[in-house]
């Protein structure tokens, strides 16, 4: 049984997604080599800076995922066709974003233990990030409520349009309030980047790798959601046919 289910490629696979997956896999291996072995230790933080190469990219790509969710939701709400595919893309992107945000929180917690001596502090950056994570878990719960596909799409799109407003609050929390978390190293308001060349390259490469992983996961998840919607519609059609047959026969 296990052979039959594991040897057959998933029906959501195409040549493009297979190549994207291979690029993501190869990139992850190179990123691990660079981040764990080839980059130098930080003057202040020592080797714990190696957590940065997964912590920062996952955070940035989670932001990207949530912005993409909002963009697809806007496309659904204000588009002429009210495309359900845009709604499914929004849902897929939010799911992947929640996973990446969860990874950000966990790796940040471990990095915090090394840097600050504690796994968690109710610091502005940490608190707003946790709030953003919970908000999108709520968004996914809203998607799971009953109703037609159009009802699901409309109500979750409205939630997504409000939820994305939290991202600037999270990003600028270290500037607005006094925070234990360090300020931005790369995305500084004055544009001045003070980071070693290979460290900066590895960080940017990490963002590229996690963005590729994000695209790969969203494509597959979007297709699975399309299959789920098709199966659901088929079930409704079948139930209606049975009901009509019952009405016809005396």
């Amino acid at each position: 049984m296990s052979n039959a289910t594991t040897s057959v490629p998933p029906p959501t696979r195409t040549v493009a997604t297979r190549n994207l997956g291979l690029i993501a896999l190869g990139g992850s291996v190179v990123l691990a080599m660079l981040g764990l072995f080839f980059t130098a230790e930080d003057v202040d933080q020592g080797s714990s800076v190696r957590i940065m190469y997964v912590h920062v990219p996952t955070a940035w790509v989670a932001y990207l995922a949530f912005v993409f969710t909002a963009a697809c939701s806007a496309g659904h709400l204000w588009g002429k066709k009210h495309s359900l595919n845009l709604d499914r893309l929004a849902g897929a992107s939010a799911e992947v974003g929640v996973i990446f945000m969860g990874v950000t929180l966990v790796t940040g917690s471990l990095w915090g233990r090394l840097s600050w001596g504690t796994y968690w502090q109710w610091d502005p950056r940490l608190t707003t990030t946790a709030f953003l994570f919970v908000t999108y878990v709520g968004y996914l719960a809203v998607r799971g409520l009953g109703g037609t596909h159009q009802q699901r799409a409309k109500r979750s799109a409205i939630v997504a349009m409000f939820a994305v407003l939290e991202i600037p609050l999270v990003h600028f929390s270290v500037l607005i309030w006094r925070s234990l978390h360090q300020e931005a190293t790369v995305l500084r308001p004055n544009g001045d980047v003070t980071m070693d060349g290979l460290m900066l390259f590895t960080l940017v490469f990490g963002v590229a790798v996690f963005t590729t992983i994000f695209a790969w996961l969203v494509l597959h998840r979007n297709r699975v959601l399309a299959l789920l919607d098709a199966v659901e519609l088929r079930g409704i059609d079948a139930a209606l046919a049975v009901r009509r047959a019952e009405e016809v026969t005396p």
């Binding site: 289910t5 057959v8 998933p10 029906p11 959501t12 195409t14 992850s28 691990a32 981040g35 764990l36 020592g46 080797s47 714990s48 190696r50 957590i51 997964v54 912590h55 996952t58 799911e95 992947v96 996973i99 969860g102 990874v103 966990v106 790796t107 471990l110 990095w111 233990r113 090394l114 992983i213 790969w216 996961l217 597959h220 998840r221 297709r223 699975v224 399309a226 299959l227 789920l228 098709a230 199966v231 088929r234």
Partner: protein
């Protein structure tokens, strides 16, 4: 845990959830496949 352990655990905990999620998507796709027509798969 030692200093290096935190770093290794961080990297493992970054990729394992992503791998599990990808595996779950693939498994769900295979389960749904017998119940849909080719017309429901415009990407093929």
């Amino acid at each position: 845990m030692k200093h290096a352990d935190f770093i290794i655990v961080s990297w493992i905990l970054s990729f394992v959830p992503i791998a599990l999620y990808a595996w779950r998507i693939a498994r769900q796709a295979r389960r749904l496949d017998p119940f849909v027509d080719e017309g429901d798969k415009p990407w093929t």
